[in-house]
């Protein structure tokens, strides 16, 4: 579709006229994004009667605004209490929470809000003009490449998140195997379900997220009186609006960082199934790789916070590209949107561009407008939200446990899932105390079923030949990158030792 300025202006003004839908959706989306267990997809499912009852424009703008806001909201608990509200915010904990512990929670929240909204805004604008071209990326990725991308993403997470690469890889593979629990895709034969019918559909992701991050964090948290360090507490008590302004300055000073890391999010988001969690970790890794101060990452480095948050929101538009252009949902929220749009009789895929070409652009334009509203709505809240961190851990820990357990129940409404979350909480506690990073286990659990689905598809097409995983040029390049990402930490450590030993002779 040709995009001319008149059409764009008309779409922009139309989206703007729905401010009465956008503002409450954004505020509601931030709240549900911040509560682990209530992502955009299950909230849209809960509110399905509303989306089906209203006209298609209101339904679309409501879903899109809420979707974008939940991606932003997920970063808030990740920064404040080290518990990502959504899987995409797992990488945000690495530097965001470290900043909060130092008493810079307000700055961290403002930077996260700016990175999220501008990351989303930039990628929405790019998508608006490049929608058909981005769709070609999705077409070039087949099941073989998808498997390798997921394994590559998991390897990056294991290498980045864990101090010990071997421990990180063990955690990631353990997560993948846990993710492979449940009935197989073809004959529905149960595998490793421990006799629980509730596990036949696989391990539900929300209890895994809640247990590994929320409950385990609460169990560790009780060791201290406060989340904050001694100096951090003094700083937080004195914090004023100046901290918000400083956060804005720090974020805008790194505008180029926001641009390129959000584009990483967009490109990863276009690949169906890859998702926000991988995008955020890939952006984090790339940010650290090109940084002049890579040693500061993990200790509260602003760029280590900006990169995953910008990418996490870059994904939002990316996941809608395969939905709009091919009719294939790029993620779980896009899948729910597909159902609502089909109910309203909206054709998706190539037919959309023939029957209702303006609709594809209006979806993306709604995102642009939602992000513009979002920046003005959320930044002033940072000062008040950051006060959460001052609550003593003896109060915070029970509150986290009770409300995250409740969140575990919400999606499937099984009491079993609360017990499962508690089990993952104990696994997460052991992982935290022994430096097996919980993010690697969680991303493994998320990717487990997706890896199996794509691997089986590739194998069936190749009539069972396992060498199919090396059958395309793109897959070979990705395998090489995967091997490189594992070898690089060892090679760097070897090189440092070698230089230290040679120093006396120079």
């Amino acid at each position: 579709m040709d995009v001319d300025s008149q059409v764009l202006l008309h779409l922009f003004l139309t989206a703007l006229s729905y401010w009465w839908v956008i503002i409450p959706s954004v505020l509601f989306g931030i709240v549900v994004g911040a509560v682990p267990g209530f992502g955009a997809h299950n909230t849209i499912i809960i509110l399905l009667p509303f989306t089906l009852a209203v006209n298609v424009n209101v339904a679309l703008i409501f879903m899109v605004s809420m979707y974008c806001a939940t991606h932003l909201g997920g970063g808030i608990p990740a920064i404040l209490v080290n518990i990502p509200g959504t899987g995409g915010a797992a990488a945000t904990t690495l530097d965001g929470h470290a900043m909060a512990r130092q008493g810079r929670a307000q700055q961290a929240l403002v930077m996260s809000f700016v990175a999220s909204t501008f990351g989303g805004l930039i990628t929405s604008l790019i998508t608006l003009f490049a929608l058909p071209h981005l769709a070609r990326i999705g077409l070039a990725i087949h099941s073989v490449e998808t498997v390798v991308i997921m394994l590559f993403g998991l390897t990056l997470i294991a290498v980045i998140a864990a101090r010990d690469t071997l421990k990180g890889l063990i955690a990631g593979l353990l997560g993948l195997l846990i993710g492979a629990i449940g009935a197989d895709h073809i004959y529905a034969a149960p595998r490793a379900t421990f006799g629980f019918l509730e596990l036949y559909d696989g391990v539900p992701l929300v209890p895994a997220l809640i247990g590994l991050f929320g409950i385990s964090e609460a169990l560790v948290m009780v060791e201290g009186e406060s989340i904050l360090t001694r100096g951090g507490r003094e700083r937080m008590v004195r914090a004023s609006w100046a901290e918000t302004l400083e956060g804005l300055r720090m974020a805008f000073a790194r505008w180029w960082h926001i641009v390129w890391t959000s584009i990483i999010g967009l490109l990863v988001g276009v690949v169906p199934g890859a998702g926000a969690s991988i995008a955020a970790f890939v952006a984090y890794q790339q940010s650290r790789f090109f940084s002049k101060t890579p040693e500061k990452y993990g200790s509260g480095h602003p760029e280590g916070l900006i990169a995953p948050e910008a990418a996490n929101n870059g994904v939002t538009t990316g996941t809608l590209v395969p939905l709009l252009t091919l009719g294939i949902p790029g993620g779980s929220t896009a899948a729910v949107m597909l159902i609502v749009l089909q109910f309203h009789g909206v054709p998706l895929g190539p037919k959309l561009f023939i029957d209702r070409p303006e609709l594809a652009s209006s979806v993306i334009m709604s995102m642009v407008v939602a992000y513009i509203f979002m920046i003005f709505t959320v930044v002033p809240l940072a000062r008040y939200l950051s006060r959460v961190i001052l609550i003593p851990t003896r109060i915070l820990a029970p509150v986290i446990i009770s409300f995250t357990l409740v969140g575990a129940f919400a999606p499937r409404q099984y009491l079993f899932d609360m017990g499962l979350a508690l089990t993952f909480g104990v696994i997460g506690y052991i992982a935290r105390k022994t430096n097996y990073h919980v993010a690697a286990i969680l991303i493994g659990v998320i990717l487990g079923p997706l890896v199996e689905e794509n691997y089986l598809r590739a194998l069936r097409i190749a009539q069972g030949d396992p060498m199919v995983l090396f059958s395309s040029h793109l897959a070979k390049v990705l395998w090489a990158l995967l091997a490189l990402s594992i070898a690089l930490p060892y090679a760097t450590a070897f090189w440092r030792r070698f230089k230290t030993r040679m120093a006396p002779f120079n």
Binding site: I170, L177, R191, R394, Q413, G419, L422
Partner: protein, 172 residues
């Protein structure tokens, strides 16, 4: 330059406790074997993914165990559980939190969402050392009511209903 204190120098040379590091790998071995047993009689499509991931996991754990074994043999590490159970005084609070969580899950069906959340919060706050009466009462009651409004009234989540939900259900 000042000489470092003898105690810290001694601690720097002390062998690392790595016993706790073995818990997840050993659990990984047990789980992988269990996974293999459950797929033993299935068709290849149901086996292949688990076999690929499980074999890679076992291989990495084997490397890890060899590495740890060498560290122990060279005196650089010991098999004590170390950081997992420290600090010991907090272990009591942590265990209490876990037991209360189990009780919360077991009782929520009978007590209903609001009373179960309020009771759990009251007991957990007390177990963690909160003795201020206003906090002990206000925090559980206010948060349980906020949870009721958000999850049951606004989001219509089907949490188990008890006395409070039935009474308030007439209002909302």
């Amino acid at each position: 330059m000042a000489e470092p204190p003898r105690d810290s120098a001694h601690r720097a040379d002390a062998p690392r406790p790595v016993g706790a590091d073995l818990i997840l790998p050993l659990a990984g071995i047990v789980f992988t074997i269990y996974y293999f047993v459950t797929i033993w009689d299935l068709v290849w499509e149901a086996q292949v993914n688990g076999l690929m991931i499980g074999s890679a996991l076992l291989a990495l754990i084997a490397i890890f165990l060899v590495r740890t074994g060498l560290d122990v043999a060279r005196g650089r590490a010991t098999l004590s559980l170390g950081p997992l159970l420290r600090p010991l005084d907090v272990q009591v609070k942590r265990t209490a939190l876990l037991l209360l969580s189990i009780a919360f899950i077991a009782l929520i069906e009978w007590l209903g969402f609001t009373i179960a959340v309020a009771l759990f919060l009251f007991c957990a706050l007390y177990a963690l050392g909160v003795r201020n009466r206003v906090r002990l009462i206000a925090v559980p009651v206010l948060l349980a009511l906020a949870g009721y409004l958000l999850f049951i009234v606004a989001l219509d989540t089907r949490f188990p209903h008890g006395l409070v939900e039935r009474l308030l259900g007439a209002l909302f």
